[in-house]
Symmetry: none
Subunit: 209 residues, 4 copies
DNA sequence: CCCTAAACGAGACGGTACGTCCCGTCTTATG
DNA sequence: CATAAGACGGGACGTACCGTCTCGTTTAGGG
């Protein structure tokens, strides 16, 4: 049984749940219209029809608010069952690229990552809210491929974990770089080429350690 | 024959070249100490012992200044001749990772990339000053490998160009993601693993088109 | 009956009355030390231990602030009862001269008058805050002299108003010119001579229309 | 004997006399269009088709330049011979009022007077260039009136000098105050009334010392 | 007739203040 | 207690001028 959360004395007026949602939605709206650097909490407050203090009561600052607003976008990601490992990966990479193509993600994500290089708490928040939360996709995909017999069951758990991390860095990094720096669309053709290279590379590497 | 450059009527006091250098150096220094978001042009001016207007006369704003300050860092990159393609790539990726590990690069680079999602001129500046300028390494590396017989001469130039872009997105993206998002060091072991996957993938892909 | 003031919806934190007073006092202090042209709102803010925005929230700019700061000085003027019209006038002219001799008045007053030649709103503010407010002295003095029998009750109100204006222009103008342009003290001797000329002139003029 | 002026070695290119005139004219033009506070030396330089340094070589700053530019306006004043002292005075006061009504005089004159309260050299320059230079009018007028027998020859020279100063303060002060502060025109009617009061006052005062 | 030295135009320079924007905190009254 | 409203102290912005400087160019005497 789950013990009840350590209720911190719920006296006084309770916080409005509607306000939370309105603030996050207003943040995404402002990201689309203004981008990260011109987004101001005063503006978000006005869009959400909320006082500035109501935002500060919930988030320490702009960075944390944006992390939470953007994190929700990535929860849409699903691992489609397209029959083969390659097709599954292509599917999820395309979804990932589609999210990154949206201005509220583009604009906010890189900015908070940049900030996180000097703010450990922020980096931890990003990892927890966004990155680690999506590693489920890699694990799920591998399990499915093993069930299909496309991949052998891994023997060395340490090695397996390192491989997951590598996959994640390569996939996320390549898509982000293609989208933001090269400013070219990560479309189906590109994803197909990229996926082939990735899978061949992983297959080859696992054989020739 | 080279026609003489269209002299733009050099009247008035010429701009100080020393100021340019001092400003870029001060910018990198401030990036190390303060990070991008707390860097102010007033502070840079003070460090460079220069007036704010002297900066604004040369750069439109903080973003463009940081791009130029960071771009200089990447000019250090050299393709070492380590005998094999794999070793050469490992060498340059390690150098790239070393630069990205420096706080003045970390802090500034992602921030301007984030800004560039809403500013086409800035993105173009980044591409011209940083990205395209380093594609020379990929081209050089391929040429050397072909000379060694490790790679066949490419037949389809369009395909070759797409491959260069893909390599660049994968290498730069993966190293950046590893360094900034995963916040793990891109050390020799990781680079070796990554390079093996990349080369095997590329080799496999080129055979099985 | 007095209808209630049109309450302007007093929501939010009310403005600090202490800040108003501190700002005006700081302005006078700065006028003394720096003079009008070297007075900066940033300096005033620092002296008043107040943010610049707090000043801009209340006054549109330096000119209006100085008008209000100087206007308070002239509220000290009192019409003394010295027994005769001539002595009363001498008394008030001396007080006026004493105020004009103070650096915070000298420095600020002429400057805002100069500015007002190109700014109708400013001129109106000066007239309302300073000039018209002190015409009370002329009216009071005339009433007292009429009560004493020194002056006949005026018959033509238009003529009377013109006379008040003339007196004001002559008195204020002469004292200001003596103090600021000629840079000689408007001391008792000068005031006595000036008052005699003024009264004899007015007396003669009223008889010989 | 007057020794020759200490010629400062007249070598090199001589200063352009045309520039002097162009600068003063441009200053007056800028005073009309912009007023004193928005007048900048850069703007004057541009209007005069002259480099900023050419202005600074001749005048220490904006204040001194404006004094010289305005002073020229007052050299137009002439004492007309209208037959009687009263009419002569009315004539010159009207001329004075006409000059003061011009925006280049209004705007500049009060401003430099204001500045002069904190700058003795500037006050001296104003007195020498503008005020004392026009006292000739008072002296001329008195001499003419004495020739006509309207005024007796003065006996006490000190008293006479004090009277000139008083007249000047009263006349200049009243007209300035009327024009700038009261912002009413010093037209013929007003001047007639003012002159009558002044002359009657002076006449009465000289008899009843 | 050239030489010389100052004046000149142009515009960059180190500075100061501007007036605005936003931050994150506070002080009200209201719910 | 939470909330809407908005004033507050503070700090950076990007701009406008200041008065000085450093260039290359022009221009009148004096040798």
């Amino acid at each position: 049984m789950q013990s009840p959360p350590p209720v911190p004395r719920a006296t006084g007026r309770p916080r409005s749940a509607a306000a939370d949602a309105a603030i996050l939605a207003a943040t995404r709206e402002a990201l689309v219209e203004l981008g990260w650097s011109k987004l101001t909490l005063g503006d978000v407050a006005a869009r959400a029809a909320v006082a500035k203090t109501t935002i500060y009561r919930r988030w320490p600052g702009k960075n944390e608010l944006v992390v939470d607003a953007v994190a929700e976008l990535f929860d849409e990601l699903r691992l489609p069952d397209r029959g083969t490992l390659a097709a599954d990966i292509e599917g999820v990479v395309l979804q990932f690229a589609a999210i990154l193509a949206r201005p509220e993600a583009k604009s906010g994500l890189m900015a908070v990552v940049a900030e996180s290089t000097r703010d450990d708490a922020l980096r931890e928040r990003i990892r927890a809210s966004i990155v680690d939360r999506q590693k489920r996709l890699v694990l799920e995909g591998r399990a499915r491929a093993q069930a299909r017999g496309e991949l052998p069951p891994e023997s060395d758990p340490g090695e397996a974990s390192r491989t997951v991390d590598l996959i994640f860095d390569v996939v996320a990094g390549a898509v982000v770089h293609r989208t933001l720096v090269s400013a070219e669309p990560a479309d189906e053709e590109w994803v197909r080429g990229f996926t082939r290279v990735l899978l061949l590379g992983l297959a080859g590497a696992s054989q020739t350690v």
